[in-house]
């Protein structure tokens, strides 16, 4: 079974009287344990694609099933529950909670989204922080760590709820070359170790080189699919 199955989906945004077609009749099948990237110029529809796969938005037309669930049938609260149970997010600007420490940021989804017993929670958070190499920084506040470290914390946070899919919107865009390389290697390793599917939207050729499948989007239309054996 496909992890994500979309058949002929379109997404139209209305800005006053003007209609903008962000996606036009896109069909994609994504299987488990793949790493996927969507590339294309700004405004091509990459982020819209990720928003739809992340159940943050609904398609205007077409069928989109994420982990077998038709997302257009979910209401606001059901979509939030679905995201909490099945999906992880990594944002370009990290979007970590500045009032919490590194440890607490990673712990946050396990408190607010998916409750597990405190002992188990602690073990899980420490193990993820260890996996991303941030264990020694766990008591620092977010403004006390670097951009690369922030993204590593964000990766750990995205994995706390054991998501089947992690969606990463331009995860290396705000990082320097070395940090971007480290973050990308980390995600690749975790993808293999944990078996989570990573889906990226990116401009970054480093990401493209590391993923299994790359889709190119132009003007809301899938124009190319390239598979690699990494």
């Amino acid at each position: 079974m496909s992890l994500i199955s979309c058949q002929g989906i379109s997404k139209i945004y209305k800005m006053g009287e003007v209609e903008i077609k962000a996606l036009n009749n896109v069909s994609v099948e994504i299987s488990k344990s793949q790493s996927i990237s969507f590339i294309g110029p700004s405004g091509s529809g990459k982020t819209t694609m990720l928003n739809l796969f992340g159940v943050l938005d609904k398609p205007t037309s077409g069928t989109l099933k994420v982990i077998g669930t038709d997302i257009s049938k979910l209401n606001y609260v059901e979509r939030a529950k679905f995201r909490g149970e099945h999906l992880g997010f990594i944002f370009q600007n990290f979007n970590l909670i500045p009032v919490l420490t590194v440890y607490e940021n990673v712990e946050y989804p396990l408190i607010m989204v998916k409750s597990i017993p405190p002992k188990e929670r602690k073990e899980k958070v420490l193990s993820l922080l260890d996996a991303v190499g941030m264990l020694d920084q766990k008591d620092k506040l977010i403004n006390q760590i670097s951009g690369g470290q922030k993204q590593r914390v964000a990766i750990a946070r995205s994995l706390t709820t054991d998501p089947k899919i992690v969606l990463a919107d331009e995860p290396t865009a705000n990082l320097d070359h070395e940090s971007a390389y480290k973050v990308m290697s980390l995600m690749k390793r975790l993808s293999r170790e944990i078996g989570t599917t990573f889906i990226f939207s990116t401009h970054d050729p480093k990401i493209v080189k590391e993923v299994d499948i790359t889709y190119t989007i132009e003007d809301g239309v899938l124009v190319n699919r390239e598979e690699r054996n990494n």
Partner: protein
Amino acid sequence: MNNIIKIAFRNLYRQKRRSFLTMGIVAFGVLAVLLFSATAGSFKNFMISEITDSMLGHIQIHAKGYVSSLDNLPLDKTIKAKQIKEMEKILDEIPEIESYTYRILLGGMVSNYLESTSAKFSAIIPAKETKVAPLLEERLLKGEFLKKGEILLPEMITKGFDSKIGDDIVLVATNADGSVNGQPLKISGIMESVVGPTGKYGYIHFDDAKSILRMNETEISEVAIRLKNFNDLEKVNSILNEKLAAIKNKKDQPFFEIHTWEKLSPFYNIAKMIDMMSLFIKIILIGIVLVSIMNVMIMAVYERTKEIGAISAMGTLPSKIRLMFLFEGLFLGVFGSVIGVVASLIAIFIVNISNITVAFGRNSNILLQPEVSFSQIVMTALIVILVAIVAVLEPAFKASKLEPIEALRQN
């Protein structure tokens, strides 16, 4: 829940200055309410005690129709011996009543043999009267309290007559039959008028009044009652109304009418005004809390839109986002209230040790002794906390309904 509380607390802490300023505004509102209530309450209680303890008593009983013609002090609307006996039986059975006394009220002319003037008199049984109105003796400016054959004249008359203690005067009054009678009396004391424009009001002995008015049997104008606990006023009033209603007049209507001090003293209106002002101050407090907390929380939602978008994208349920903001508002209300209560207690203590006096009417030395009850503190704090929660509802709902995509897009 603990973690939501922790996050809410830290969210307030990250905007320290703003949070403390808001708490300061809330605290100032609480201080204003409690200090005003305590001070105005002290003044009100002092005045009520002055009026009830030195003149009226807590409750009065009259024959039906007496109070509406009180200005004339009618002698044909008195309580007769038969009704007195029946009434006594009822009064003695009410445990909340500390004491009661009888009075005959009469109007008359007093003369020092050179000049004469009209005045009103209360004929009292001194031993009983001082139990009902314990501050009455304190109104004595000169001389001694009343004995049979003596009169207590208000200062207003003795000044006009240029009289002194021990002087003889004559009191002339018209009795219920319309005949006029007079009796010489010795001035035993000079009374200060009670607060307010009470005019010329003196005291004579009950037996002397009976003699002047040629009463063969005891008749009284009113019964003044003092309660053991002032707070039982309404309870005793309703008991009396219920029990005395059984005693009927010739028209088969209740013989008695019962009035609490509130119905008999014009100060009650001032007391009501003080209560109204306290209410207005509370409404202002509600406004302050509502506007300040709502403003801060709207700002917080606006500033943290992207963050809300991120936690919402991660799958945080709207109810939890709402709860987080509700806790933030709650903390502002709770901490503001606590600071306000502490500041109020300090301010009340300072006013108490400063011995501040105010003047009202003829009483120029009313000592302000503000005190605030535990229930007042709790009530004010609860109002603030409740309003704080109401104030944060709109921003909290707004935050919980943000679309994650829109929120994440915000710069």
